[in-house]
């Protein structure tokens, strides 16, 4: 498989008045191959959404990104705004968490999706609308011709999410960034949306960068998973290996904290303390203060992501104790 996206040592700093106020990403490296689904999991604030936004260079003005993001051979961090525009929505598109706030409420759904086609594919209004109808049909919306004339508030959350997916795939991108695409939906609808994404991925062969806080969900959808903690990748591996035998204590903690696996009513294993702040620059492992396996070395020397087995890498001095 060919390499689609390569992120190397990506750091994102937020600053105000020339001073760095938050170091949100601290050297994230990961790759997505063509047609592959890669999941990025972690808790609120770990930098998973920021990683996705960095790929599209949609960061706020006070953020500075450094490192390398290479997509289909192009250095994303060096492109001009004009060049970026020809990639966003065409080669890379994004599906957001809350479909209700991602559409403009004053235009019809069909018009908004049509704009993407007109902008990128050079088609006229009429041709664009025909393509919209075809795409809405492909994402499983019944009566596409009438759905097109609806305003966003007239559709349910599930239908809107399908419409957003239609907007994302209308130009047949090679990479789809899905940021918590089912979090705002009911479980039965979430299953329908996941199946839709899987079917489209099979049919069109795009790679998926799947951002979620839900390990089970990512486990179902993705070929490989990266676990983020405090702006760093702490473990990365093929889904079966990573979930079957986590080699970073944080990954294990995330898995054990899920209530579905425990005896009902029994105490769930949790880790004490909280995620370090985005300015904390203590040497050593960021997880050390909360880690059940911690040794002195963990506070002195920062572990780097190193291979711990076939298709699996962990940033932990004590991975072999797991």
């Amino acid at each position: 498989m060919s390499r689609l996206l390569e992120i190397e040592d990506l750091t994102v700093d937020f600053s105000r008045d020339g001073r760095v106020t938050s170091r949100a990403l601290r050297g994230v490296s990961l790759t997505v191959d063509a047609g592959e689904a890669v999941g990025v999991v972690g808790e609120t604030g770990c930098g998973k959404t920021l990683t996705g936004l960095s790929v599209l260079r949609m960061l706020p003005d006070n953020a500075t990104a450094s490192g390398r993001i290479c997509f289909e051979g192009q250095e994303m961090l060096e492109l001009s705004t004009r060049e970026l525009r020809s990639i966003r929505g065409r080669r890379i598109s994004m599906v957001f968490q809350s479909p209700g706030t991602s559409f403009n409420p004053v235009f019809t759904v069909g018009y908004q999706i049509g704009l993407v086609a007109e902008r990128h594919l050079g088609v006229g209004r009429k041709e664009g609308q025909a393509l919209v109808a075809e795409t809405l049909h492909a994402v499983g919306l019944p009566n596409p011709e009438s759905v097109m004339r609806f305003y966003p508030h007239e559709l349910s959350g599930g239908m809107l999410q399908r419409a957003m997916i239609a907007m994302a795939i209308i130009c047949r991108p090679s990479l789809l960034i899905a940021d918590e695409p089912t979090t705002a939906l009911d479980v039965t609808i979430a299953q329908q949306i996941l199946r839709l994404l899987r079917r489209l991925q099979r049919e069109q062969g795009f790679g998926v960068f799947f951002i979620s806080h839900d390990l089970d969900l990512v486990g179902d959808f993705c070929d490989r998973i990266a676990v983020l903690y405090a702006g760093r990748v702490v473990e990365m591996g093929a889904t079966a290996q990573l979930l079957g035998r986590p080699r970073h204590p944080y990954t294990r903690a995330l898995l054990e904290a899920l209530p579905g696996r425990a005896q009902p009513g029994a105490p769930l294993p949790t880790v004490p303390g909280a995620v370090p702040t985005a300015l904390d620059d203590a040497p050593g492992c960021p997880f050390a203060p909360r880690c059940p396996l911690v040794v002195e070395r963990c506070f002195e020397e920062r572990p780097v992501l190193a291979s711990v087995g076939p298709d699996q890498a962990a940033a932990c001095h004590r991975w072999d104790a797991l």
Partner: protein
């Protein structure tokens, strides 16, 4: 008098539809719910958005008057007009909300937030008040260092602990937990779930847990009720209901839970379509428009014409389905002895 702390009988809540004019149209968000919770037990109510589970919670809290039916708490009908009794009920029935940040006044510090219910109900003052606040703080796993913080200085998990402390302050016997962890991260969710179990055991609390997350409901509940379009369609002991669900909707919900392996994503979804609007209730069985079992059985007419009554499908296990004895889950446990499906022609 039974040992039930809470008893709902035929509870219904209709909301008028604005702008419907003289016709006075209304939607029935809750449409005939019966449930009982014995003292010290946890009843989990699951369902999708719009199924009416939060409306049930609001009725139990007395935040909204019932349209029909009755709610009896510790032998007292909630509809009582005796203001002294009503005040006591307010103390004894409390709630933990979903969004901790939205449930806390941003301009009050933690100690004032926790003291507020104590002063409102005249339960403590002066030194005793300070002492009680300190004890509550400790109960929920916070320390004196948090006393003078404002909500924005707390993490989501800490804020939810403050919300729990506020609910406990008035010494409630029943706590309604409305999606208590759905706004929290996994590790924090586990911490709050552990706290809720501990508090139940320590204070002998009774919980009405409302959640869309089956794994959370499974972890806490003794009994589970599954709601669909304003009705409880299946109810039973937690383990039995989850191991051998007898209503096709419960079966579909279980199949929709995460972590079932990636190959399942290539199969058809466990349930198609979306929940119809309470505006426009399907005829007969409310679930028939999405029911996979109905399709398997070749669309029997009973589903479309007759509203199924709740039948006994096991020990203290009920399901409202004409064909509950046909429901099996692959790899599931032994189905309980079922009473024969009612003759559909009789109606109900």
């Amino acid at each position: 008098m039974s040992s039930n702390l809470l008893e709902l009988t035929g509870v219904a809540k209709a909301f008028p539809v604005p702008g419907s004019g003289r016709k006075r149209a209304s939607i029935r968000a809750v449409d005939g719910v019966d449930l009982t919770i014995p003292q010290g037990r946890v009843f989990g109510l699951v369902g999708e958005s719009g199924s009416g589970k939060t409306t049930v919670a609001r009725c139990v809290l007395g935040l909204t008057p019932l349209s029909e039916g009755s709610i009896v708490f510790d032998g007292i009908d909630l509809a009582t007009t005796d203001s002294g009794v009503r005040r006591r009920l307010r103390r004894e029935i409390q709630i933990v909300f979903q969004q901790p940040m939205a449930a806390l006044n941003p301009r009050m510090t933690v100690d004032n937030l926790i003291a507020e219910p104590l002063t409102t109900h005249h339960l403590a003052r002066g030194a005793a008040l300070r002492e009680r606040v300190g004890a509550l703080l400790e109960d929920v796993g916070l320390s004196a260092t948090h006393l003078h913080r404002y909500p924005h200085e707390l993490s989501g998990g800490q804020a939810q602990r403050v919300v729990v402390a506020r609910a406990l302050a008035s010494g409630p016997r029943l706590v309604v937990l409305d999606e208590p962890t759905s706004a929290l991260d996994i590790v924090v969710q586990a911490q709050i779930l552990n706290l809720l179990v501990e508090l139940r055991d320590e204070h002998g609390l009774t919980y009405l847990l409302i959640s869309h997350d089956l794994s959370v409901v499974r972890h806490l509940s003794d009994r589970i009720g599954v709601m669909y379009l304003g009705r409880i369609v299946e109810e039973g002991p937690a383990e039995q209901l989850l191991d051998s669900p007898r209503h096709p909707y419960t079966r579909a919900l279980l199949a929709s839970t995460r972590g079932r392996g990636s190959t399942t994503l290539d199969e058809p979804p466990p349930i198609s379509g979306e929940m119809p609007s309470t505006w426009d209730l399907p005829s007969g069985c409310r679930f028939h428009t999405r029911c996979a079992l109905r399709e398997e059985l070749g669309r029997p007419t009973a589903c479309e014409t007759t509203d199924p009554a709740s039948v006994t499908v096991g020990t203290r296990h009920f399901a409202a389905c004409h064909f509950a004895d046909h429901v099996r889950v692959a790899g599931g446990g032994q189905p309980g002895p079922a009473t024969p499906a009612p003759d559909p022609s009789k109606g109900d």
